[in-house]
């Protein structure tokens, strides 16, 4: 054996011994216990038209300008968002009036009768609350499907993708005058905003610190009947649902007049039957 070969061999042995002495093992633990284990969770999301500073008063006794049901298949991590036009006739009158006359519980009761679903929780925000929510979450990427220029809501969007937050998000959510399908389009846009906010949050796959920020932000900008101890597991559940696992169902129907008021008779079809049967999330495609 040559000196060179011997030196190389000694070097290799030494390197192996030294590497062995310095080797490390790494381990990772991630615990994210989300809300419950199975079943369907239904949450009513409400936007009240009353609340300071824009319209002083008790937001829990305003009219419900935005009404959405979010149904979540907890085990499958899938969701369906149903938009209900505020002018829908439910319980003999415009559905948005039930908040003003009986508060969130009355609205829940009427919607449970109409849909056949059990609503587990309600969450309510105001104009200001929605502005702050969208701003603190970093905004929402939505699409203006037609020109939106409306002094009443403050909307000013050309057709195409738009990023909205704060006042622009509120304007996008409130404008119905610019839209060819009026209240249906406005309600659909509100649902678009909900899905866009979810996309933004879920895509970040928030870690422990970001989860705490999310819970604090939602707490600051909404009121709800969700027990405080459930806010963190609900935030975990929401962020565990991939954007592709959310189905958006804007309800439509026929317009009519009731007394002197313009109203909508919604035609939900099988939407609520499917949810009650546990069929939540995007419908299966032929390739599934």
């Amino acid at each position: 054996m040559s000196h060179r070969t011997r030196r190389t061999g000694v070097g290799v042995v030494l390197a192996m011994l030294l590497l062995g002495a310095l080797a490390v093992s790494t381990y990772r633990t991630v615990l994210r216990p989300a809300y419950a284990d199975d079943g369907i969770l239904v949450v009513l999301v409400v936007g009240s038209d009353v609340g300071p500073p824009y319209r002083p008063g008790d937001p829990l006794r305003g009219r419900a300008d935005a009404i959405h049901l979010v149904a979540v298949d907890i085990g499958a991590r899938r969701a369906t968002v149903v938009d209900i036009p505020r002018d829908s006739v439910i319980g003999g009158t415009k559905v948005n009036a039930h908040l003003a006359t009986g508060g969130p519980d009355a609205l829940v009761s009427q919607l449970e009768s109409f849909t056949g679903l059990t609503i587990d929780h309600w969450v309510l925000t105001t104009f200001r609350g929605f502005e702050r929510l969208t701003a603190e979450l970093g905004g929402a990427d939505v699409v203006a499907d037609e020109p939106m220029h409306d002094d009443s809501s403050g909307s000013d969007f050309e057709p195409g993708p738009v990023h909205v937050e704060g006042a622009t998000a509120l304007a996008f959510a409130r404008d119905r005058h610019s839209l060819s399908d009026g209240d249906f389009g406005r309600t659909r846009h509100q649902g678009d905003l909900l899905l866009a906010l979810h996309r933004r949050v879920a895509a970040q796959r928030p870690g422990p610190g970001e989860l705490v920020d999310l819970v604090a932000t939602v707490g600051r900008t909404t009121v709800s009947d969700v027990p405080r101890r459930d806010l963190l597991p609900l935030a975990l559940l929401a962020t565990d649902i991939g954007p592709g696992a959310v189905h958006h169902v804007p309800l439509t129907g026929r317009t009519a007049t009731l007394g002197s008021a313009s109203v909508v008779y919604v035609e939900p079809g099988d939407t609520f039957v499917h949810i009650a049967d546990g069929q939540v999330g995007p419908p299966a495609t032929s390739s599934d």
């Binding site: 000694v10 070097g11 030494l14 011994l17 062995g20 002495a21 310095l22 080797a23 490390v24 093992s25 790494t26 381990y27 990772r28 633990t29 991630v30 615990l31 994210r32 216990p33 609340g51 300071p52 002083p56 008790d58 937001p59 925000t125 105001t126 200001r128 609350g129 702050r132 870690g207 422990p208 610190g209 989860l211 705490v212 920020d213 819970v215 604090a216 939602v218 707490g219 600051r220 900008t221 909404t222 009121v223 405080r228 101890r229 806010l231 963190l232 597991p233 975990l236």
Partner: protein, 237 residues
């Protein structure tokens, strides 16, 4: 257990932990030929000691303190944020008193210190699942039974000694109704560790957790923990 909200001087480390100087300079080739036999002699002596000692501890001069030391955890509150509606509904949220916030932060630091000592220092409980109930919420503990818990120190490793270093914990507190209701916590815990078969190096746990009130105290409800250990070979998993 050694939880504290006050800064303490860092403990001096034994001289034996210092890294060996590395040869360098214009006489590299010559020094290598001095270094190689020297290293071989050291390795051979080490092997002889291990063989002759039949697995018993080497001389005290090369071993870390058996278990007298504990993790000294200091906590710094970096932010206090309310989760009550922030005037949106026409009422101002109650403000949490500084004393309430500091007390909660101190309690959380004590929980972390107790966990670190039990998980990595105490010979009776280290590298087992015994420390977890005192750290995790009931929900997280139940969830952890189906998860890989190695990052929390549940690792099959035989240890000769551990020398913990001071831990600086940062906490962002969320308040509601004048009380602390959530805390986002992060820390890096380090300790010098010697395994039973002589491997030595740095134990490092990097953790981010969300603490919630649970069962009369503070417990971690969400956990992300990364653990690095010197490899021992057969005992590791």
């Amino acid at each position: 257990m050694a939880g504290s909200t006050r800064e303490r001087p860092e403990r001096s480390r034994p001289a034996s932990w210092d890294a060996a100087p590395v040869a360098a300079g214009s006489h590299r080739r010559r020094r290598r030929w001095i270094l190689v036999p020297a290293l071989l002699v050291v390795l051979a002596l080490g092997a002889a000691v291990l063989l002759l000692s039949d697995g018993t501890l080497p001389s005290p001069a090369s071993a870390p303190p058996a278990s007298a030391a504990t993790f000294d955890v200091t906590v710094r509150v970096t932010d206090v944020a309310p989760m009550d509606d922030d005037g949106v509904f026409g009422r101002q949220p109650p403000v949490a008193d500084d004393g309430v916030v500091d007390a909660a932060a101190g309690d959380i630091a004590a929980v972390v210190a107790g966990y670190l000592d039990a998980a990595f220092v105490s010979p009776e409980t280290r590298f087992s699942d015994h420390p977890l109930p005192a750290l995790l919420s009931r929900r997280a503990l139940a969830f952890s039974r189906g998860a890989d818990r190695a990052g929390l120190g549940v690792v099959d490793v035989a240890v000769r000694g551990v020398d913990p270093q001071p831990v600086r914990l940062t906490a962002r507190m969320v308040t509601s109704g004048g009380e602390v209701v959530l805390a986002a916590v992060r820390y890096d815990a380090r300790a010098r560790l010697v395994t039973a078969d002589g491997a030595s190096g740095l134990l490092h746990q990097r953790a981010r957790m969300v603490f919630v009130p649970d069962d009369g105290g503070w417990r971690a409800d969400v956990v992300e923990a990364d653990l690095t250990l010197p490899t021992t070979g057969e005992g590791d998993r």
